[in-house]
Symmetry: C2
Subunit: 227 residues, 2 copies
């Protein structure tokens, strides 16, 4: 029963995370490169058409490989999207860090502006992936729900904490549930970032949107009117 190979099973907490292919084998450098190319091709296609119009054949062809190769690395199209969403979510902490700046007066409004700006830029850069990711969560897909929870919860909690402080200081209405309010603010950011294009038809520029969202964020968090 003594293992004759050098591959010893380590406890999963210690074992470094290696990327695996669909049959559970560790992927080497060449495979990793193919996998990355597939993801890039996927992202490129996603930027120009909706997921439903994306054929695995196209993704594969764009990297001069075959559909079977795609399936070697991803269970299905959604899994590839999930990986892209994970990639995107790695940038979240940068936005989170902005929350720590001052919320006093004019400085505070600038903090709000910076956050909104960062958020919208982030969505602009990854809108297709993020929107899809958000849809899959809404549909109840476990994988995407977990990702959303992991990336949004810290943000919600950071905002909620500010609101609680405001409430303790008596500036912010106690009627609001801090996390619910945080979710509402996040909803503005997500939703407007997702469709600010269609508002341009009504004479609303991106600039307007940023200023307005920042005003609302500032007003809800601090309880004070935007300067």
């Amino acid at each position: 029963m003594a293992p004759s190979t050098s591959r010893v099973k380590l406890p999963s907490a210690v074992r470094p995370k290696k990327t695996l292919d669909q049959s559970g084998r560790v992927v080497g450098p060449r495979g990793l490169q193919t996998r990355d190319q597939l993801l890039d091709a996927m992202a490129a296609l996603l930027a120009q058409r909706s997921v439903r119009e994306i054929r695995v054949v196209d993704v594969a062809r764009n990297v001069s490989t075959s559909p079977a190769t795609f399936y070697q690395y991803f269970e299905d199209v959604d899994e590839a999207v999930l990986r892209l969403a994970e990639r995107a979510s790695e940038r979240m902490p940068e936005i989170l860090a902005l929350m720590g700046r001052s919320w006093q007066g004019r400085k505070g409004f600038e903090t709000a502006l910076a956050i909104v700006e960062a958020f919208i830029s982030h969505w602009d850069a990854h809108h297709a992936v993020l929107r899809l990711s958000s849809l899959r969560s809404d549909e109840g897909d476990r994988r995407f729900l977990k990702l959303r929870r992991d990336t949004m919860t810290p943000l919600l909690q950071a905002i909620a904490k500010l609101i609680e402080e405001g409430q303790r200081a008596g500036r912010v209405s106690k009627r609001m549930h801090p996390i619910a309010a945080a979710a509402a603010l996040a909803a503005i950011l997500e939703r407007l970032a997702a469709y600010h294009r269609s508002l341009e038809g009504l004479g609303v520029t991106r600039e307007h949107l940023v200023e307005t969202s920042a005003s609302i964020l500032y007003q809800i968090v601090t309880g004070r009117r935007a300067p």
Copy 2:
């Protein structure tokens, strides 16, 4: 050249809208019934699985008919969804009417509460269809974009008008673009209505959500803290 039939071509503005099938023929009473049954079956399925998992065969089977019949009335699954969304959007004016109530003090807050409540109930009743409809718009689908524009624009304008009044009275920050702010508030309603279920995991009840959203709505529209 004189038409011998009794079917005279009227100007399209006058001609009553008859439902047509895929080959452009007017649908009679029996067909209309089948079509409605198909829509109902579609709605029922949509309530339990995501669109991607809905097979035309299932919809058809649920009304004891064949896929070919489905395609006689709808171009594709999306068209059926669009019809359902249109059905749902007919209820919008009721919400819009609430906007006209008083926005003064405690009464004003009750107005906000009523609007939020109506909106969330509306979404609860049609969430699958509305969410999908919103996704298709985001994806740029013309048919859904038009529907969204037609149903949301009046709402946005009503809110925008209130905000403008507040700005003129000096209660509301002039930094906000009225339509952008209206869109932001609509975003809260849409987004939270769409996923309030997943917030329950964080201890946020539907009740909290309604109160909080109403507070934000009230605060942004009137420039005053919620009572």
